[in-house]
Symmetry: C2
Subunit: 310 residues, 2 copies
């Protein structure tokens, strides 16, 4: 029950001959979510052993090409592979118009339905939810309407400790009641507080994706306590003015957000092509927030479960 | 004054993790033309040292994604690089609607104008012409309207042979007249036939691109005498029925067209992903048409000028 993030690209607007633009696959409890879809994302998924047919949903932060142009070829390929399951695509307006044009002009016979779910980029709210997972929108500050995404595992069901079962000779009925969160009254009349006999088998993990954006203290608050934060760091500190003007973040911005959010660790990406060596970007972040890493293409970053078993 | 063809991709519909879909750059007398634009074409151009800013025009055979999806990201990137020169895109209908949707929804501020020139895929006619080059459409037989393209160098201006100039002591006026194609009358009254004193400094070269298509004897006739023919060979001979049904060619079809056209050489491409080893495809073609090669990604095929200097 971990979260694993595989980086498929980390370059910004101008592509390079060696790197790919923004895209990553977030695996939450074995459900695969694609976050952004820069050009070439389908080949990158293949390269790193991630089947497009297993995608549960797609989340697009904003409609700039370096986050989007790989999506349509991917949708076509899923059709070639015979996908039947509808695919939800969460994206800001006017993505629906693009999808409509694509389906009308390029793919009028797809064997499955891609469904657009509009993301309100001004709101922080749950946009996806099932038994184990919540996904929240994060209002980012870019030149066009942009949302980040916050992935949160839900609390797992309660387990009853083996020690309590043996010590008190709990019956099946009592165990089931305890799993529901109830206190248990023994035959002796003794009441066992639920918290004394149950535990969560693992803690909940979370991951936030923030690209593209200016520095935002508001986003840091929304991501409070996140285990891993991906934050764009298009520019080095020396270019902070340029970063601000262009709706982007500097290394310092990214590190400040991670620090303010009390994030477990920080991944930086979306680098300007001017930086041939990324070490300076990493060093600048680490000075403020030591647990920083480069979101290196092809690497999978695992958020380990905090086991609380007893 | 050669023709050079750089292969940027040769896979068919389903992309692979190692190869790219159809795209090639045809260099005719130092003018760069992009022919088809499968996903990733801009990175492929960068990788092989071909500047998108130098593209004179783009030719799209048909509107299937594996020939098209790389075009829009490329158009965006040319904008980022500050292209100002309008770019003509030759493509069948309804490409104009796609371009309009792209410009409206993705790139409303491009610093240059991409112009759509509609290609009538039922006609064999000149669609591009300047002082040195002609480009003809070739009506192909695919599941959707599809055109091939035939690149032809025009005949170079006449040169007057140095031998004739010296032997007859030709004046500047006489040389200029001979270059215009006129016979020259000497002071003695002797008439020198134009053909006896002039020559073309080099022969004209030609290249034909045929993908995607069923076998077509008509196309072979249109490409009569072509120096190099690129012809799709999606399937091996054993799958000729499948090839026919899907609007594609087998190895035998490709070799037959090359033979019937008296082509100088044949390049095959657009391979189905089922063929991990292409040797069987090559062998089947070579049996019928020995001068066959695989259109290998990253390779440049040069058509050498036939020098007629004397």
């Amino acid at each position: 029950m971990s979260i694993a993030v595989t980086i498929l690209g980390n370059t910004s607007a101008k592509p390079t001959s060696t790197g790919h633009p923004s895209a990553q696959v977030v695996n939450v409890n074995e459900q695969l979510f694609l976050v952004d879809a820069g050009e070439g994302v389908q080949r990158q998924m293949m390269r790193y052993g991630l089947s497009p047919l297993k995608l549960r949903a797609v989340f697009i932060s904003h409609l700039h090409g370096d986050h989007l142009f790989g999506l349509f070829p991917l949708l076509s390929t899923m059709g070639l592979y015979g996908r039947r399951t509808p695919l939800r695509i969460y994206a800001p307006r006017p993505f629906g118009e693009m999808l409509e044009a694509f389906l009308r002009l390029c793919e009028s016979n797809l064997p499955y339905t891609p469904e657009w779910i509009e993301v309100d980029t001004t709101k922080h709210q749950i946009i996806f939810e099932n038994d184990t997972t919540e996904i929240w929108s994060l209002p980012l500050r870019h030149r066009v309407p942009t949302a980040g995404y916050l992935f949160r595992q839900k609390e797992p069901p309660l387990n009853v400790s083996k020690y309590a079962i043996e010590r008190y000779g709990l019956s099946i009925a009592q165990i089931v009641a305890a799993k529901r969160g109830e206190d248990v009254t023994l035959d002796s009349g003794e009441v066992l507080a639920n918290s004394a006999i149950t535990y969560r088998p693992y803690g909940t993990l979370s991951y936030a994706y923030c690209s593209d954006t200016n520095y935002s203290a508001r986003v840091a608050k929304m991501a409070e306590g996140v285990d891993m934060l991906y934050h764009e760091a298009t520019y080095a500190a020396a270019e902070k003015k340029l970063a601000k003007e262009r709706g982007h973040a500097s290394t310092i911005d990214a590190a400040k957000v991670a620090k303010m959010a009390n994030a477990g660790r920080l991944l930086i990406g979306h680098f300007s092509s001017r930086y041939k060596d990324l070490q300076i970007l990493l060093d600048e972040c680490r000075e403020l927030f030591p647990a920083t890493d480069i979101a290196e293409e092809g690497k999978t970053f695992l958020i380990e479960p905090k086991t609380t078993k007893r």
